[in-house]
Symmetry: none
Subunit: 210 residues, 4 copies
DNA sequence: GATGAATGAGGGTTCATTCAT
DNA sequence: TATGAATGAACCCTCATTCAT
């Protein structure tokens, strides 16, 4: 029952954190949804903070590993590699849509714990994206460009569908957790990579936009 | 001191909501930052919810009016119109970076009030985007495409810099509130419009991506 | 507007004090029901306490004056006098049913103000009842009896219909504010006076129950 | 300390509710009088309302059971039965004088909770009184009479000594919690039953006062 | 390992009241 | 005279957490 309890707690926490936000969710709510005694949460995670930490670690470890795994194939080309990352992240996020949504939201809140966790993973992520883009520039796969601005755009495209799933469903009638969406949206990102990132439009020579 | 108090409360609220989230911010925190009595908040806004409502309305009324104003020039071309909207929204968001950041985050939390406010503005926004895209398709300015997926991408590009400003500053060394950024990033969006949205690459005939 | 405002406040106060109790009623509630600014109550009555005081004084001055007026006719007989008091009080209470109900309830709450007001009127009331009963004993109109216990019974009979008017209406289907009730119930009290108070059953001689 | 805490809270609550009224008593007051943490009240009773509910239930369950127990002996005669009820209720009320006093006062305040509780018990009580009176009429023990008006009188006599104990003590020098009072006052009620209720005075034939 | 009792801090809100206008 | 703004205290309640069992 031990393992089950812990899993049930995490599952309940993710669901409630996603709906009501971290601060808006009480330990009691989580415990009652998980059919667990409130003290059990303290036992397994020490803290409410500990539970948050666990969720973040859980998310970002897998998140980064997707990037790392794909980066192993960088020699097949930066473009190919980037497309694979897009596919893998899209798939991963779709599979853990509540966790993704909640992590992306809570990420922007001032918090000792979050800041510490993020500092590691953000840098790792940036490192890989940077490598890939640089490789793409070198081999003339990508149009020369400011890397930070590329990262913003890429992450914007990748995160957007999961930032507000209610909006997606109720306003745009798009369902980010369905395979259909994943395939469809992946093509959009490919299009961005092909058209905007790799665009062969002649740029003034040497003009690497900083 | 009347007007000042209300303004001071709103200013403090936006700052704290942005840093700590709505649920993570107490009325007492706001009051003490605004140098105001906690009861004054209840007096001016009735509720903590009322304060949130005020912030949302304040944001979205201006947000929508930017779109509406730009839409008036639709006859000069959908592309031109869209670029103007991008510029205006980017500028508006940069000018109210904390409010923007906090609204975009809190938007995704389950809440009666937020849901009600959003339902109005989301539909308005969608309406205008839809009109513009349709016009663009008609006049062959834009490559035929699924509108919802275009909206996702456009909004992703527009919102991303303001979703996590700490990440922007500390990881990417990008400062979304500076005029330099606005100009720079606007060009990126123009690029997306020119390359991805208007791309003249021959599409398989009649292939309107659903 | 001055006089009207004061009257409106009192009227609203009596209604709300009756429904929700003194402590359960806020000055704002009263003000809004009376269509008056909350500060106006402070102006007219200085305090919430002052308003309570006013209600009590208002009630008991008339209450005692009814007794005093009837007592003037003590020479026509104690029984006659008592019946007149019963009739007058019953009528007065029926006419001011909300005020009566609320005063009788609030009377039993520990409060400096109430205690002070009551100490005067309770003693006055007791004085008259005592005089009447003693006169009744002297002239052999009433069966000798302990005066305090008579007062309890008499007051019990007089107050009961107004102590919980909802119970009267909804459970017993009796409506203490209607003339029909007054006449009917007055006969009951007369019966008590005639049968229980004046009962000629031979009592052991000299046995004045203490 | 479990059971003790709950009991201590109830005891303190009854005392304070009696002195200051329900609305006039704060949870902190109760907690500090009971030497308990304020949150413990919420733990044991969920609400301040829950505490009130508990007091009411506690009172009326015993109250009704006294009536029910006595009603079991209805076959010994309605008069006998009524006298027994009077005795038992008087004794019960004397023993729980503060609770009785406070319940009788708060009963008349507009409140969802009180209304719901009362609706049950009032009807039960009425049912038994009605049965007894009807039986008394049938067997010619009681003079025919309107039942609601009899209930008013009986309840008035039974409740009066506990409606305002300060008045009893300080004005009438009567102490409703002392055995002496119980015996004395019980005789008064017997007198009412014998003289007013059972009065053999010839009534106009068939005249059942409605 | 798991739980019910208890705690102190702090949550949002309402209160009666005051004061400048 | 009458009122809108503002205040500080107190309201009830919920919080995350601890601890003995």
């Amino acid at each position: 029952m031990n393992k089950n309890a812990k899993e049930a707690i995490v599952k309940a926490a993710i669901s409630l954190f996603n709906s009501n936000g971290y601060s808006g969710t009480s330990i009691r709510d989580i415990a009652s949804l998980a059919n667990v005694n409130p003290a059990a949460i303290a036992y397994h995670f020490k803290n409410k903070t500990g539970l948050l930490e666990y969720c973040f670690m859980h998310f970002f470890e897998q998140y980064i590993s997707k990037i790392e795994d794909a980066y192993a194939f960088i020699d097949r080309g930066a473009k190919e590699c980037l497309k694979r990352i897009a596919a893998d992240l899209l798939f991963y996020q779709s599979e853990h849509i509540q966790l993704t949504s909640f992590v992306y939201r809570e990420m922007s809140i001032e918090s000792q714990v979050v800041r510490e966790i993020m500092s590691t993973y953000s840098l790792k992520e940036k490192y890989y994206f940077q490598k890939i883009f640089e490789r793409g520039f070198e081999w003339n796969e990508f149009r020369p460009h400011s890397i930070p601005y590329l990262i913003i755009q890429l992450k914007g495209l990748l995160m957007m569908p999961f930032m507000n799933t209610r909006y997606m469903r109720e306003v745009l009638y798009v369902f980010p957790n369905e395979p259909f969406f994943q395939q469809k949206y992946l093509k959009e990102i490919h299009l961005w990579i092909d058209k905007t990132l790799c665009s062969d439009v002649p740029i003034k020579k040497g003009a690497v936009i900083k």
